[in-house]
Structure formats: C-alpha cells, structure tokens
Symmetry: C2
Subunit: 335 residues, 2 copies
DNA sequence: CTGAAAGCGCTTACAG
DNA sequence: CTGAAAGCGCTTACAG
C-alpha cells in the first residue's frame, strides 16, 4: 500500500503539503495540488485510517454490544444503528455478549482505549463499574433497550405502557384470565413490563398470572415462551389470554396452543408486548404492541456520534439524554 | 488515559523497558519488572490497541460483510464468526450491505487500508475487482455462503445437494408436482439450488415448476416466498409440494397455504432447502435440508484469521481453500 | 504557499 | 539487563 511519503516523493513535495492538499486543510498552489492529486491517483493512494485515527484521536468507529441478534429485536437495533453510522461516516464494531457478564466485560475492555469513539450497549446490568470508567475516560455510552444506569444516555421503549395497554386491549376483548410470560426482573424491560402488568391487573381487578419455566433457559427465546405457556395452560386451564414479553416467546406460546389443539384467538388470545417485524410473518399473525426498533437503533447511533462530535466533556451531565419511544398497538390475528 | 510514558515516568525507567516488561518480550530484571507492573496497575494502564496496530501492522480485527441479518442464515454466520474471532483475540467490524453493490463497494473501501486484517464476505458478486485488489494488497478474503470468485477461499454449503435430495425425499413421499421458490441466479446458492432441482426433476421425470413473483422484492424475504407461493397455487392448482430456497420464504409459503385453507403437509408439503434454527419455532414446524450455519461462520473466521497469522504471501494460491458443508435432512411437520 | 519538526502511543533493532 | 533512537503513517502548529 502506498503511503503519503510515496505520493510526496512522486509529486516532489513534502508530505505535509500532500496532507494539506488531500485534506483541503490549507491553501495549496493549484499547480502543486494538481501534481499531488495526479500522483495520488497514479499510486492508488488511500489514507491509512489507523494512522489518521491515532493522530486525530478519533477512529470514526462505534462499538455496539448486544445480548444476541437471532430472532430478537436486537437484530433490528443493530441494523438501524449501522445504517445511521454509515451515513455519518462511522464503522461498527460489534460484539455479541450472549447476556454473559464476563463476555460483556471482556468485550468492553477490548473496546476501550481508543479502538472505538463511542459505545452503544444493551447490557447485562452487571458491568456498571466498567461502563462508568469508560464514560469517565471520555467515551460516550448510550444504553439501548435496557436502561440500567441513570447517569448515561438511553434510548428505550415505554415497556410499562406496552404491558398496561395490552391488558386494556385484552380486557376490552372480554378477557379476564390474562397470563404474563416475562423474564428476569433485574433486566429493566422485563421489570417494567411486569410493573405495567401488575398495575393493570390491579386496576381491572384481575388475577395475576405470572409464570416462568422451572428449568432455566434463556428468557429471550422460543423455548422459554413455549415452556412458560405449557405451564400456564396446565396450571390455569381456563386462561383466556397470554401476553409474551417478546415475539419469540409469543411464537413459543402459539406453538404450545397448536400442540394442544387450542384455537387462537378463539380459545386463547396471544399478544406480544414488544413486537417487531416477525409478527407479520407467521401462520397465525401476532397482535402486538409494536416498538420502532430500527428507529431506536438509528437514534442511539446518532446520539452517541453527536456526543463525540460535539466533543462534550466527559462528565458533562447536560449531554445525558433519555429517549423513550411509545409503542403502537398493531392488531393482527392472534388477539 | 495513561500511556506508556506515564508508566515509565512513575517506574523510573525508559518506555522501551516498560514495553518489554509488559509484553514479556525480553528479560527484564525481576525488581524492575515488579516496579513497572505496580506502576502500570496503579495508573490503570492499558495499551492503546490503535498504536500497537499501527506499529505492528496488524489490527486484530476481522471485517464481515453480509447482505442482511434479519431472519436469514447470515445472523448465524455472523454469530459463529464472532464467537470464533473472539476466541482468537479478534474484534469484528460488521457491515450490512443490503445486497446493494454500491453500499458493498463503499464498505469494502472503508475497510481496506489497514482497518481490518482480513475479510469475510457474502457478496453481491458485483465487486470482484475491488475484492481482488484487496486480496492483492495482502488482506485475505474468505467468501461465505456465496462463492463468486474461484481465486479466493470459500465456505459454503452444498446447495446442489440441498435441492436434489429434497426432491428425492418428496418423491419418496409420493409427490409428483413439486414447485421451487428460488431467487436470482447470478447469486451462486440460488443458481446451484436451481441446478439441483432441474437435474432431479429430469431424473424423476417431473414437471419443472419454477416461479418468482412478478413484482420485484428482496428474494431472501417472507414477502417473496409468500408471493411466489400464491402465484404457484394459482397457476398449478394440483401442486403437491413447495420447496423454498430459504426458511423465511418457506414461512411465506406456509402463510399462503393457511390463508387458502390448504392443509400442510396433507394437501401440500413445504420444505426449506437451507434451514437453520427458525424451522423448529413455528406453528407448523418446517422440514428442511439443514445447513450448519454457526459452524460455517466459525470456519470462515478461523480460515481468514489463520491465513493472516501464517503471514501467507498475498498471491499464495496454496492458501486458497474451498470448504463445502453437506446438508442434513431434518424431518419435521411440514413435509 | 510550502518545508521541517514534533508528536499521536507504541515496538524493536542497535548499542552498551 | 536497559536506554536512546528510529519509525509505523499520518496531522498540525511553527517558521519562513
């Protein structure tokens, strides 16, 4: 790969002049400039971003840490973030943490120290210390989907409303026995969904039916939804609605119903509390409180990048923003 | 962030000694070493990977370009690659090309020039020139899923066998009118699936039923599968099996059947030619030729990284490998 | 308008 | 065993 030096030699000028000509950072005599541009072209010169980054102190790279991509809202978050980052001239360094605190810490530590300019994370909630250190080092951190640290910016959906409004809708449809499939309440969205559900249940004087499978499995999964639904159907044979925290759990519930010959929505309604694209691609399409995942990803990226570009001081509290997206009820077949 | 210089000052030695002590790259007097380690610890020193990369000429970063992640095999490819890369001490720079040649070229150009050490790509097939240039610059390129350039390594599945064996299976089940939903044949997996289908159809003396939707839409999508199936059912009312190139198309086909009250598998069987995780998470679980996507991602990453680590010379043909994974028939409900 | 110098943070021959 | 120097490829005050 040719370097600045090679171009300078060919054009018979100093490297600094080449740099200025190529970056339009100072007046360079038109004739000189022409010579330089031609030399650069001839050699197929392209600046080394690593060297530029080291010198400028900025890599134009955004780090993203997500629990997993497959069949979750995080795939759309990642896509939105990537689109936005690309538009702003940033690359994405992506790490899948598998919701494992150790892997997450490892990835965070790999990212800090100059390799990324800013970080977007949907975290396990167990590395607050590292995150705060990173932020103190001057790297903006934006939390997406999950909001665990109030001192750092966040882009989330109103998970409380997702639950509450879903119950309202189901009650309106005549349901009185509404079960909730959720997940560990140390993760903020699950917690908020649970709270919204409990408040609504109290409000409408319903029985609270919350179930998680006995065996431990990843909450954000088909298996988890399926097992939760099976248990619910066993313990509450007269249940008339199942709300799943996320789409993939809802798919598990639909499968459980099908296996038992229970009709949906006729016998039991099923609803996803945070739907995204997949709800519309099923045999029985799924009614859901939809969340604008692509937009959330875009916003998070923009927020992170703007903070860097504004060179906000590390502890600048004014630059901390919390964005909350409202869900939209999308009625399909399942409820 | 503290630098080597800061550590050196605190420990009262030269930066070079600190570097040697921290990297275990030469004998350093135990006492000195202890002092240095303590100083490093006290300051919370961590090496700047960007500077290391510039100096060493290696970034320990792997670039991955994929058409899209959502609901495709590429999400698993990405995950496998990421797991493997992590294990080998590499980060991932990820770019979603949306199967757009321009975006792909843009991403490739952003990645070249030092930011990544190697590249994994499932490409559009339209940037062969850039890929060859990148390879000539010394950056190993591994093609995954799609194999467009014979001069570069690849990790793919045997798509021909996927089709051929699926037809065999369906014929064995008594099917005689088997339709194929596929995609643009300038993309190698679609082409191979088509060839396998045609050969099998000829072999078993069946009618060739290939349909694509009139309106243009992304082939790797639910919509595409749905529309293709609808058209097939209209034009061949006595069809008894539908093979979909990919899972998400198969889901579209299942939906089309459901809407028309056609029973699956009783009336029409549905099969995916390259199944992955999702086939098992549906109301009607989907019979598929399964492809080990996670493994393919892992292998591709390992291949790319090993080539870098071996410092293979750019044009070293000996380092070009083509890996082909065989599919496995997984019988579920839909066929 | 242009060159020479310093420096981003690190590593690695080269002396001693 | 350790320091001083050069250099990875670039940018940017500083002179002129």
């Amino acid at each position: 790969m040719p370097t600045l030096k090679d171009v300078a030699r060919l054009a018979n000028v100093d490297v600094s002049t080449v740099s200025r000509a190529l970056n339009n950072t100072a007046h360079v005599h038109p004739a000189t400039k022409a010579r330089i541009l031609e030399a650069a072209k001839e050699l197929g010169y392209r600046p080394n971003p690593i060297a530029q980054g080291l010198r400028r102190g900025r890599q134009h790279t955004l780090g993203i840490l997500l629990p997993r991509l497959q069949l979750t809202i995080f795939a759309e978050i990642a896509q939105g973030a990537q689109e936005e980052a690309r538009g702003l001239g940033y690359s994405i360094i992506y790490a899948d943490t598998g919701d494992d605190a150790k892997l997450e810490a490892e990835s965070l530590n790999r990212m800090r120290g100059g390799i990324v300019d800013d970080i977007i994370i949907a975290g396990t909630g167990k590395n607050g210390r590292i995150l705060r250190d990173i932020r103190a080092e001057g790297t903006p951190v934006v939390q997406v989907v999950r909001m665990q640290e109030h001192s750092m910016s966040s882009v989330v959906a109103d998970y409380y409303a997702c639950s509450y409004e879903a119950v309202e809708y189901l009650v309106d449809k005549g349901c009185r026995k509404i079960g909730l499939i959720y997940g560990p309440s140390n993760i903020s969205p699950y917690k908020r969904r649970y709270e919204g559900y409990q408040d609504a249940v109290r409000e409408f004087e319903l029985e609270s039916i919350c179930v998680t499978p006995s065996t431990s499995s990843v909450p954000n999964s088909f298996e988890f939804g399926y097992r939760s639904a099976v248990r619910m159907l066993d313990e509450y044979p007269d249940i008339d609605a199942i709300m799943a925290a996320v789409d993939i759990q809802g798919m598990g519930a639909l499968r459980a119903l099908r296996e038992r010959g229970i009709r949906c929505p006729d016998d039991v309604r099923v609803m996803s509390l945070t739907g995204h694209a997949i709800g519309n691609m099923l045999e029985t399409t799924m009614t859901a409180m939809e969340v604008p995942a692509l937009d959330m990803g875009r916003k998070a990226a923009r927020m992170a990048i703007e903070t860097v570009e504004a060179k906000a001081s590390p502890g600048d509290k004014a630059s901390v923003q919390h964005l909350v997206f409202s869900p939209t009820l999308v009625v399909r077949e399942s409820a």
